[in-house]
Symmetry: C2
Subunit: 669 residues, 2 copies
């Protein structure tokens, strides 16, 4: 279904293993797990103190319910706008300290990069480099033997590798980003959502939310908040979803999995590699080594346990999980020294019909102002490590749209595209998860071929390897809409498809000859980008196509930059114009290209030279080749969430002029 | 003198541009300079508050005087040992906010990596990629023209590139590292050193220091601290040096330079590149672009100004500096919008005879307990950007030695090697600076050849390019001593010379197939390392040389690991044993090699699998080739400051057994 759906794969040769070199081999949790920053001895062993709890304001632009990954990514995105009043409420009394999800896909790290803190994740995380498959020995089926050890190819799909890290640390980085951002946002803990009423959409703050405090000094105290928008990031048992009378549909609890984070001694040789172990009669285990060099996560498939252990999850103890894992790993042994965290999952594939209080199909009746995100609208198994990632991608899709509407740059109709785009992604996710779950528990009888040649790859193994592209999160492909337009010029940028995220490639910044990733210039700051890939003409020639494009964008009355930038705002504050030349960085004088490419900005009218790039010819990385950009050049419009919106020819002024009219509000009335 | 002194250069082909790809193009200071973390809006525009000032204790192990780069690196190093009582006192009322040094060499970033925060520097810093040379136009000598634009080759000497960043930010990272470390060290501000007496060395705390407080609530209050060791990191006018009656010798103030950090608008095309500009008659300017994309530093040579500006530095104003810079850049113009910081340097090449109260030559009379470090014992011009770097390297040399003596691992004689090693480095530095200063102000008359062929490279240009190796800080080569032994086996590791720092190279960690830098495993944690490069034998064979070496280290009574590790300490707590195999990571089962290579440690006796490495064959990086390691294998002993101590054959047990006897104290009495 999803695999092979990647026509640009040929362009993506084994790039960018290099970034791994940067990273440090941090070791910690040696003498036991301690929550918090592993490098900060002030935090070791201390439970973080619940912050001082402020009162909620009477009215906010956005009220986020729930401090999970979806809620925090949304909060981190909105906190970048000082002119948006956001609050995030949470039932718990403070941040989580351990456990839960741990897989972080390449695309998620790209988003962290856009939010400004990916280097912290890369420093602490464990990198999943190798994957091993183990099956029962056909000669001695009570033993397991390694079938394959394979270097994981995931980072061919992104400049960032797939890593694993405690969800609590991801939360911590997001909380830091929120707190440091212009809006200086901190969560409001100890808050239970009681009720919600959606009023007249003519009202500036149409959603009224009733909340109860649970902190000791204010227990039972009620608060009422009026909000322009409410976003339910409150998990699989979402109160926001229930208050909207929306239901989850699908299979419930068809599989039971035990999960535990352990410190242990073992002679199993792949304990530091991702390992999939299918025993003959004792069930299956998935091993995920974790950050710090010693911690390891075990997923134990419970419905493959012996009859005697086949009990409801309520009776499962961690000792039973450990015993089962030990039997599955035979002849290897495990000696568990500390159970850091454990849980039992009973989660099926479920999906909510609607992702907002008004669905795109009902757009005639108005625009949505209550949304649900992440586990609140889709649940699935934890096996592929996708839950936290897809939830964060949901809210990264929604965040810039809310910001753009609240700031008056886009009309509220834009908000329908959240459900339009993300519900389709959730459907794909559930289909993937069903397929994977089936394969994972499938028990193939060793055939004649296997007895002759030794163990061979199972279907699961083949599937897992192919599935890497999907798990990396980079196959997400939004359908055409007002903000994703197939213009018929795809041949001009074969590796940059509308609907997919802009796949970064190295370039050199003209001003200082620094090799950087072009994609890293696409910060999560709410801005659209017009990225012009120039043709071979001399860009300092005023008759060149790139000069004329700059002239159009600067001066023409139809220029979207003129039309949609508020008076008094920096010229790049709504739509940023970036240029990639074909010449090397030694061959162009940055003062001689069109001055609109490095426009004066800010209080001092300093010129911004950070918008001009060249291919990294010295290192053999020509972005034109890597991303299939035609030598006659083109324009790539990217959305504020880094997804490609459209590909146009360099002189496609008319289409460029009208592209933004679908959703944006002219500012220079 | 120093150039060409790099016999292993041939091994160092253009490695590791890749790490640049990782970094982000951060932009800030657009609307004016703000001190503090540029990503933290809570700090913007606020002066950091002076922390609460605690009383000094009566006795400490180490008292550091001065919170400059030398003092802070020493403090960050010592703070990693919870069992050492360190305090650092500072005359100022809080951390510096701007100005001063900005160049950070590759070797300094290696040290930051060893201290745990190099990724923060790399994220914020500006990377000096290109260097341009400008001279007067021979046709129109009132104008300058570009002679050359060259991509800077500095990072061929280190895995880290030369960068520039405000000294205040470097301090901030060091202060963070101190505060987060096990000793949780914070500076004691508002402290003036008044007097110091060095008493009987039989006394546990022989140095008595008198300090006066200057904070408003305690102004004039005196404190007396007894210290085992005092380290003067108090700059060119060092009080510690004066109290030791030591004098600086050399040229004083033979050149005057103006320096300013500016936000400006200009049409000079290389404003974002390091640029050296030699005008015909108006003097010379060195331009260093800085972090954030807009800030730029100008060094203006004052004694090349016109007669009318030739005044003492006391009369120089920033307006005069700006006017001079403008004339030198003609026909380009500068329009300065903000002067962030400026200063005038009148510094000559000066060196102190002694670096401690007892010099190595007087070792018969006892061991030193007062040291001076950095500018307190050597000063020179700021042109090569070496001052901050060499000062930090001074204290990185001293830190582990103090720690080892205080913790009872080494005898106090070790401390003589600080002056022995670092005074020679300071002499080299001053020679380099004299040569560079002469060339920099040399004004060559354009010759006939130049008129024919256009401008040609000057001697300065040739020298600057060659000098990159020196400026990278990686040529430092300590002379033979008890801790640096030329054993006659250098052919076994041609790229890893005793006395030079261990030059890192990529490897793959066996346990998880992760590509990492081997050098990054050499943390600044006070540990010596025995790094064994294996031969091609099967390492799981108990007859192999590497197995026998592990057996020797684990069991022999002469094993330095047995001899020098305190009872009850982890087996790797004093000397760590690391192994690099020749086989690829798929070809070795980590459970089948000698168990001493992944020893049980800590409260849980977890096995530490982070000590086993393989060549990175998949990426074409074979450390044996890159570092000239003989295929018959060898042992490389590295010091706690990452310098290579000795190279031995794999079976050189006897030399290995005796190597540590020179300075270390047996623990298993």
């Amino acid at each position: 279904m999803l695999l092979g759906d990647n026509p640009a794969t040929l362009l993506f040769d084994g790039l960018y293993l290099e970034h791994l070199r940067e990273s440090i081999a941090m070791q910690y949790y040696f003498n036991g797990f301690k929550p918090g920053d592993p490098t900060d001895f002030r935090e070791r062993g201390h439970r973080l103190v619940t912050p001082l709890l402020a009162d909620l304001p009477e009215a906010v632009d956005v009220l986020i319910v729930g401090c999970g990954p979806a809620g925090l990514v949304l909060a981190a995105q909105l906190a970048r706008f000082a002119d948006i009043r956001t609050r995030i409420v949470e039932r718990k009394s403070g941040p989580i300290m351990k456990g839960q999800a741990d897989g972080i896909s390449g695309r998620s790290i790209e988003i962290f990069q856009a939010l400004g803190f990916e280097e912290r994740v890369q420093k602490e995380a464990h990198f999943l480099e190798a994957i091993t498959f183990w099956r029962h020995d056909t000669e001695r089926p009570e033993n397991i033997v390694r079938v394959t050890k394979k270097i994981d190819g995931r980072n061919v799909f992104s400049q960032f590798h797939h890593v694993v890290l405690n969800q609590a640390r991801v939360h911590h980085f997001l909380l830091d980003a929120m707190r440091k951002a212009p809006a200086q946002l901190v969560p409001d803990y100890c808050r239970n959502l009681l009720d919600m009423q959606v009023g007249d959409s003519d009202d500036n703050y149409p959603v009224r939310v009733m909340i109860e405090r649970t902190d000791p000094d204010h227990e039972g105290q009620k608060e009422t908040v009026a909000a322009r928008y409410v976003v339910g990031c409150d998990g699989a048992r979402s109160t926001v979803r229930q208050l909207l009378n929306l239901e989850m549909r699908g299979d419930s609890a068809n599989k039971v999995w035990g999960v535990m984070d352990l410190l242990l001694v073992t002679d199993f040789p792949d304990i530091r590699n991702k390992s999939i172990i299918q025993s003959a009669n004792e069930g299956n285990v998935l091993i995920i080594p974790r950050e710090g060099g010693h911690l390891v996560r075990f997923y134990v498939e419970m419905d493959k346990l012996k009859e005697s252990e086949r009990v409801s999850s309520r009776n499962i103890t961690v000792d039973k999980l450990i015993a089962a894992a030990g039997r599955i790993l035979h002849p290897y042994t495990i000696d568990v020294k500390e159970v850091v965290w454990w849980s039992v999952y009973e989660i099926g594939q479920r999906l909510c019909d609607a992702f907002a209080n008004i669905s795109p199909e009902d757009a005639d009746s108005g625009q949505p102002n209550v949304f649900i995100v992440g586990d609140a609208c889709h649940t699935h198994s934890p096996k592929a490590g996708l839950g936290m990632n897809v939830s964060m991608h949901d809210s990264f899709n929604l965040g810039w749209k809310l910001a753009s509407v609240i700031r008056g740059h886009s009309s509220p109709e834009l908000l329908h595209t959240y459900a339009g785009e993300r519900r389709a992604i959730a459907e794909e996710l559930l289909a993937f998860d069903r397929e994977l779950a089936t394969m994972f528990s499938e028990q193939e009888v060793a055939g004649a071929k296997e007895r002759e040649n030794g163990p061979v790859a199972t279907k699961l193994q083949e599937y897992m390897v192919k599935a890497d592209a999907y798990v990396s999160g980079t196959l997400t492909h939004y359908a055409p809409s007002q903000i994703t337009v197939e213009s018929g010029h795809q041949h001009l940028a074969r590796g940059l498809e509308p609907g997919k995220r802009f796949y970064s490639s190295p370039v050199v910044r003209l001003s200082d000859a620094r090799p950087i990733h072009l994609g890293h210039a696409l910060e999560a700051d709410g801005r659209w980008r017009i990225i012009a890939f120039s043709n071979p003409e001399d860009p300092t020639d005023s008759l060149s196509a790139i000069w004329k494009l700059a002239d159009f964008l600067e001066k023409a009355s139809e220029s979207p930059i003129r039309k949609y930038t508020p008076a008094g705002g920096d010229v790049d504050s709504v739509i940023e114009f970036l240029v990639v030349f074909q010449q090397g960085s030694r061959d162009i004088n940055m003062q001689d290209v069109h001055a609109f490419m490095s426009p004066p900005k800010g209080a001092y009218r300093l010129r911004d030279y950070n918008k001009l790039f060249c291919p990294d010819l010295d290192n053999g990385d020509d972005i034109f080749d890597k991303r299939g950009i035609d030598r006659e050049g083109c324009i790539v419009i990217t959305r504020p969430d880094q997804h490609v919106a459209s590909v146009l020819p360099l002189d496609g002024y008319e289409t460029l002029a009208t592209f933004f009219d679908g959703t944006m509000i002219p500012q220079n009335k």
